[in-house]
Symmetry: C2
Subunit: 476 residues, 2 copies
């Protein structure tokens, strides 16, 4: 059944109700604009149900068990109760029920429209609603695309037919497979391989096309994670990929034929080999764009190729930084700049430009050891022509780390711009380093000089004293 096409008008229409889309709504409505937001699947987005949130819920017990193992006098801990961990994960993802998120949107207040949204010419969005109807929305000021991304599945013969796990199935798993093959060596691959292994996957094999894990961070960090995965018993194979996959019985065992002729049998196969941006089937062609790569935007999140500046793209879909917090950051900029422009106010304040995108986005990987980084790697800084000096230090040599437990192993690396004496990038790898990152994010983003950082005294005995050691090692 098709209902009559009666357009609704809003100041702003957002397609995609993930964290980025929701933040646009929040800022736009706070600025006095009427706003509608369209979501095909779950309000709250990939992050809330299939990525950051459930993965951390699955990883937290592993982190803590490792910490207990380093502290004499506690434990021993019995075997982990995987069912209890999965149950808390279910709570964390609200059992895949987005009614709380929809209530939040309605309360902003904004109009939530369930269905598949696509552009239908300038400022016009058509939504295919679940009842088979179509609803047309018209934007007075702006349309923002925040459709995120979905897992890419490589064109390996038999792989798609084998119904592999992606991040979605892995993070929402109802059971832990006894044998798991993971394709990929990035964040999702490392985190999920480790989580599943801890929760009971006895045979876990990772097939990593390249020569290292976590290719976007400093090499030492990926090496530390590889060593940790291997010492936990995970079979990490570098320079290997799947040539062919067979799963004769749906839900039954999977056979993976590798490019070296060997074969791995498993109960599940997880594909964690990158993301496909949500640019297809959203009507880009109706506004003169060719769906394909990321939607190029300026620092105010405006799609540069569309005339009159009414189209914005925020989050994964613009390809700037595929990270929830960066999507939210862009969304705050986007919502605020749409408000400024709608009201004819100045639109060029620093808060209306997502300048931090270019600095090197902060990121925490919740493996054991944790890895976190912000800014540029040494390699990138050199490639960009900065006069670089590098300082490294063993975090385990800091008293605060020793006090966390026996055998703490960690490493810090700072990339310094010798000319301006500011930090271009900082990387930490080690247990529980994730919360160390924000200090680096402030220092890198605000370009605090080393000479000022020297007076920011880390408290003794925290792990943060690594900051003192790095500055001393630099020569201050």
């Amino acid at each position: 059944m098709t209902v009559p096409d009666e357009p609704d008008s809003f100041d702003v229409i957002v397609i995609g109700a993930g964290p980025a889309g929701e933040n646009i709504v929040g800022r736009a409505v706070a600025g006095g604009l009427s706003t509608a937001i369209v979501e095909e699947h779950l309000a709250g987005g990939e992050c809330s149900y299939y990525a950051c949130i459930p993965s951390k819920a699955l990883l937290r017990p592993m982190e803590l068990a490792a910490e207990v193992g380093r502290v004499p006098g506690l434990g021993p801990l019995g075997p982990v109760d995987a069912a209890a961990v999965l149950a808390r994960r279910d709570e964390a993802i609200a059992n895949l029920d987005d009614s709380g998120q929809v209530r939040w949107i309605n309360g902003v207040p904004a109009t939530f429209v369930r269905g598949h949204g696509r552009l239908a010419g300038p400022r016009r969005v058509e939504v295919a609603t679940p009842d088979g109807g179509t609803r047309t929305l018209v934007a007075r000021h702006a349309v923002a695309i925040a459709t995120g991304s979905r897992p890419a599945v490589p064109a390996v013969p038999g792989l798609r037919e084998a119904e592999p796990w992606t991040n979605r199935e892995a993070t929402t798993a109802r059971h832990v497979p006894r044998r798991l093959v993971v394709i990929g060596g990035g964040v999702v691959a490392c985190e999920m391989a480790q989580a599943m292994h801890f929760l009971g996957a006895e045979e876990t094999v990772m097939l990593v096309r390249g020569r290292r894990l976590l290719e976007r961070v400093e090499p030492f960090a990926g090496e530390m994670v590889a060593a940790s995965l291997r010492s936990a018993g995970i079979d990490v194979r570098f320079g290997r990929s799947a040539a062919r996959v067979e799963r004769p019985v749906p839900g039954g065992p999977v056979t993976v034929h590798l490019d070296d002729g060997s074969v791995v049998e498993a109960d599940e196969i997880l594909v964690a080999a990158g993301r496909e941006l949500g640019v297809r089937d959203i009507g880009l062609e109706t506004v003169g764009l060719t769906p394909g790569g990321p939607l190029e935007v300026d620092d105010s999140m405006r799609v540069t190729a569309v005339p009159e500046g009414w189209l914005y793209a925020v989050g994964d879909v613009n390809g700037r930084n595929l990270l929830t917090h960066m999507g939210k950051y862009q969304a705050r900029v986007c919502g605020d700049v749409i408000v400024a422009r709608a009201k004819g106010l100045p639109d060029d304040a620093p808060a209306l430009r997502a300048t931090a995108d270019a600095v090197g986005a902060p990121q925490v990987v919740f493996t054991d050891p944790q890895v976190c980084a912000v800014g540029r790697t040494e390699e990138r800084a050199r490639a960009e022509g900065f006069p670089v000096r590098v300082v490294e230090y063993d975090i385990g040599a800091v008293s605060g780390a020793y006090l966390l437990g026996d055998g703490y192993t960690g490493r810090a690396k700072a990339v310094v711009d010798e000319e301006r004496r500011v930090l271009l990038g900082v990387t930490f790898a080690g247990p529980a380093v994730g919360e160390l990152l924000h200090a680096a994010t402030i220092a890198v983003t605000a370009e605090v000089t080393l000479d000022r950082l020297w007076h920011a005294v880390p408290s003794f005995p925290t792990v943060s004293e690594i900051w003192l050691r790095l500055l001393e090692a630099y020569g201050l």
Copy 2:
């Protein structure tokens, strides 16, 4: 026996080989100056053996046990093995053997002199050595006093005779008393009461003269700690003090008569009622000073009342900030400025002034919940006339905190200078907040504006996202 008084000459003489003294040595020698350091008790100082290090070694299992209790699927943990915890504490304090520290000093290289050092006129230090002799040291450039502090024991009848525990005996305890009375409500009192209670002190009573715990930090933090202590079963009594103490049999039970007429019986009594600065019996009168209060210094750590500027005072003894890391900070300044002055180089660079002392030193209290703060409290900022605005936020409402475990409770408070839009102070209280502090220390010390902090995006889903929430609550 008195050995002949044959003076040794050094560029720099340091009295007191705690962390502050050791850091002066390190910097002075690195700058090319010959240096001697005198220590009566243990090289490494109060912090290494009787304060920061052992207290954190004792508290870490408690912190971790609480975290495990919040994460479904782990545990239950059996009862803590106090003997194992005390054994790791012993390892952390090197079994009170300072030979490793002495080796470090010798290797700098510097001259370590064991004995009680006292000034004997300008640039002259006499050391009463353990063999009963005297050794006289003469400084060509500078003498630095880094004699720290010792626990103050209030003049309560019978208290001193009862041989109470101070931080020294508590942190190095060979056993956990079944019943413990704690006099005090500051950091040592809270940390040690909680550690001992966790390790097995079934009846723990705290007598707090004032109306709150941790009086130097924002009131909400002390209230959270008080609630936590009480819910763990510790009997916290505010507005109460000991009027009289009896311990008829040395090592036997202690009877404490309170100022309200009530009586508490215990097996040990811990006095944690402030510090006495190490200014007595160090010969201050020989250089025209009257021993008593703190040694007043300028920002280069020079004692202002002594002519010719050869005397420096670093760490607790100058009363600026009685914290290990601030003593070390002052020591770096002091060592470097002595080098600059000895060489006739400019001595007024920003790195040669301990300007951070006046900002409000960072500090972490390792109770459960942890408390940490830097900069000014709201009260202090208002008293100093700043145009203050305060922002508070519930840390438990941040996704990253929820992911740490069930029932995470925490609070953050930021004190903003409305005129300059910078942070004057930040306080966090909650489980595992200690490593959040350094970001605040950088922001407060370097006076990063809120508008720049807005672009320092906290990684999702870390607890550091509290930064975003605080800035949003402020109105950004």
